[in-house]
């Protein structure tokens, strides 16, 4: 059972690094907005700000927050995966023990059946010997009775 959790964790880390890199670039861009403000005159600057920079920033913030929360969720999912793996390993151990015990149980049942059969033999032998004994005693009675004893 290989769930490649390390690979998942690595990919999650890689995604986090990329997000951080994107954040860094976004910060760079926000800094460069000041440059844009300098380039244009005030009215043009305001127009650009309201038309592009504010929506871009707001959307970026939303996307960034969503990405961050997605990463948080995925980290929780990864933690759950790890817990799952522990439970699965525990289950696998229990299942292996059950399998082994069930095999032993089956072989023991077979042994018990042969043992039960071996007990029936003395029972049959006892019955046969009892009949023979009674027969012999009866013969002795008959012989003596015939002889007038």
């Amino acid at each position: 059972m290989n769930f490649e959790f390390n690979e998942l964790a690595r990919r999650l880390d890689s995604a986090t690094v990329i997000i951080n890199s994107a954040r860094y670039h976004a910060e760079l861009w926000i800094e460069s907005r000041a440059l844009a403000r300098q380039v244009w005159n005030d009215s043009c600057s305001q127009e650009m700000e309201s038309l592009y920079f504010i929506p871009l920033s707001q959307n970026w913030e939303t996307a960034d927050q969503s990405g961050g929360r997605v990463i948080e969720n995925l980290q929780e999912v990864l933690a759950r995966f790890n817990m799952f793996q522990q439970s699965a390993e525990s289950h696998a151990r229990a299942a292996a023990s059950i399998s082994s015990a069930a095999d032993e149980f089956k072989s023991l049942t077979n042994h018990l059946e042969s043992l039960r059969d071996s007990i029936y033999y003395p029972f049959r032998e006892c019955a046969r010997l009892r009949d023979e004994t009674e027969d012999l005693l009866q013969q002795a009675e008959d012989i003596c009775s015939e002889a007038g004893i």
């Binding site: 871009l56 990864l78 817990m83 023990s97 003395p122």
Partner: protein, 575 residues
């Protein structure tokens, strides 16, 4: 003909159709965004691979490449590409397809390409990095090649970061070939060649110039590069403004590219997690089923153990009965042996008495016969004496003749003696007959006693045989008891095993429930992440839309600025 095919058709014709759609020349030149051109190339690579797999499935890379080489010229021609441009594009596309194949991107990541997502490299020294599509000749140097597919190249993430705006000899060669085809102006080619000559083919430490790439700072009059930091230009000079605006745009492009990359990476990671969560959910459900089966096994084991416990009780009842019967049988057999031995002794005594009686009777008979013989002799003597007496005369005188007168003697005494002897003989004969009778009786009695003795002997023998049988019966009962003891031990082991199975089954069920619970939570969180991802993607889409609008607006403004710069060139022409 191709246009009539259904795009969803997943046959070679379907792949051909889709590839044809993505290759359309006019569509390419209408693309205005970086994401648009990179996504389109990824889709082309996807459909190229699909087409090669449809034509020659499960064949080597070289065979598939040959198949693509045979198909591409026709498709490019039908898509509007002609002559040398088509040849160059074919070479570039095959190179890009081969690179992705070499990196193993047509495995599990294959589907990502179809949706314009970046695949992950799974083979080679770049393993683990995503593949980015970038411009071979940077747009900073040749804006005209922004949406030309021949200028696009797949690169590993880090290599792309290292490449940045650097130029390589074959990049310059591509620029030359595209200039020859009319896709790049001579001015732009001069910019590229000059940038290459200025050291933009080397790491920053080896460059001849330490300035940043002079994005867009090309004199519209002379076509030569103008440094932004040149002291000869004022801050509001249009060329400086263009350069500064381009800087801001580049920063935004970087942010957008990174955001796109981050979005793509999160989507990929999310899809892997979602797939894993789904797999684990299936796995957890299977484990629950297995745990239920284990529980069923445990119940069966407990039930079997109970059956064996009942069976044990029955067997022990039989063993006890058997033992009891064997003991009773032994007792009866021993009593019978004692009884018949006692009878045999009595019979032997009776036989001995009969023998003694016979001996006595024989002796009495002999004695009676002897007495009878003596009596008979006496009778005979008496008769002889009587006979003699009868013949004997006594001279009692003489007759006249002188003869003696003889007179017989008196025989009466003799006769009485004879009579007495005869009576004695008769009496003794009776005695002898009685003795003989007693002998006969004694002989009969002896014979009967001997018969009874023999019967008693046989009875003793049979009783002893019966005793031996009863003893063997006891041994069998003991053997059954030993087996019963062993059975008890084994049933105890069986019970312990059943308890062990029950314990493990309980553990198994608990673990499976835990697994399912964790997986459910993981799936819930994944779903939540999926929702967040959608809202994030929507925000990204809004960013891209705003970015496109911004680019168009900036382009207009830059055009205005360049136009503002134009009069100097017009004046120069007048001059």
């Amino acid at each position: 003909m191709l246009a009539n095919l259904r795009p969803s058709c997943r046959s070679s014709r379907g792949a051909e159709f889709c590839l044809f759609n993505q290759l359309k020349r006019d569509d390419w030149f209408n693309l205005t965004s970086r994401s648009g051109v990179t996504t389109r190339l990824k889709r082309i690579l996807y459909w190229m691979e699909s087409l090669s797999q449809d034509i020659v499935p499960k064949e080597s890379r070289f065979v598939r490449r040959a198949a693509l080489q045979a198909e591409l010229p026709r498709l490019l021609r039908e898509a509007g590409w002609e002559n040398r441009e088509a040849d160059l594009l074919q070479t570039r596309l095959l190179f890009a397809w081969g690179a992705l194949d070499y990196w193993g991107c047509y495995g599990e990541n294959f589907g990502l390409l179809r949706f314009g997502r970046a695949p992950i490299i799974v083979r080679g020294r770049h393993k683990g990095q995503i593949v980015e599509i970038d411009h071979a000749v940077p747009v900073a140097w040749a804006a005209g090649l922004f949406n030309h597919p021949a200028n696009l190249i797949p690169l590993p993430f880090l290599s792309n970061r290292l490449k940045s705006s650097k130029l390589k000899p074959h990049d310059v060669e591509i620029a030359r070939r595209l200039t020859a085809m009319g896709r790049l102006t001579k001015l732009e080619l001069a910019t590229v060649e000059q940038a290459y000559a200025n050291g933009w083919n080397k790491p920053s430490s080896l460059r001849q110039t330490t300035a940043d790439p002079p994005t867009g700072i090309v004199s519209v009059i002379t076509g030569s590069l103008i440094s932004v930091n040149s002291g000869s230009l004022g801050p509001l000079d249009p060329r400086v403004l263009v350069a500064r605006i381009m800087e801001s745009c580049e920063a935004l492009d970087g942010m957008i590219a990174r955001s796109h990359s981050a979005d793509g990476e999160i989507v990929r990671v999310y899809s892997v997690f979602a797939e894993q969560a789904s797999r684990l959910m299936r796995f957890a459900r299977c484990r629950m089923d297995e745990a239920e089966t284990d529980l069923e096994t445990s119940r069966r084991a407990e039930s079997d153990t109970e059956v064996w416990q009942d069976s044990r009780s029955d067997l022990w009842l039989k063993i006890e009965n058997c033992t009891k019967e064997a003991v009773e049988l032994n007792s009866v057999a021993n009593n019978q042996v004692r009884r018949w031995r006692s009878t045999l002794q009595q019979m032997e005594e009776a036989r001995r008495e009969a023998e003694e009686e016979l001996e006595k009777s024989n002796e009495a008979l002999d004695e009676a016969e002897e007495e009878l013989s003596d009596a008979r002799n006496s009778l005979s003597e008496a008769e002889s004496a009587l006979e003699e007496a009868r013949e004997t005369t006594v001279c009692i005188g003489q007759d006249r003749d002188g003869n003696d007168i003889n007179e017989p003697i008196d025989t009466a005494p003799y006769e009485r003696q004879v009579e007495a002897a005869e009576e004695l003989v008769e009496e003794l004969e009776d005695v002898r007959d009685q003795a003989a009778q007693r002998v006969d009786d004694a002989e009969v009695e002896l014979e009967e006693a001997q018969t009874r003795e023999s019967a008693a002997g046989q009875a003793v023998q049979l009783a002893e045989e019966a005793k031996d049988r009863a003893s063997a019966c006891s041994d069998s009962a003991k053997s059954a008891r030993l087996c019963g003891d062993e059975l008890d031990e084994e049933i105890l082991r069986l019970s312990n095993l059943a308890n062990c199975i029950a314990r493990h089954a309980e553990d198994s069920l608990l673990a499976a429930r835990d697994s399912l619970e964790h997986t459910c939570e993981a799936e819930r969180r994944t779903t939540e992440a999926g929702g967040l991802l959608q809202s994030g993607s929507r925000a990204f889409n809004d960013i891209f839309t705003a970015h496109h609008r911004f680019q168009a607006d900036i382009e207009t403004r830059l055009h205005a600025l360049r136009s503002f710069d134009r009069p100097s060139s017009i004046l120069a022409s007048f001059r």
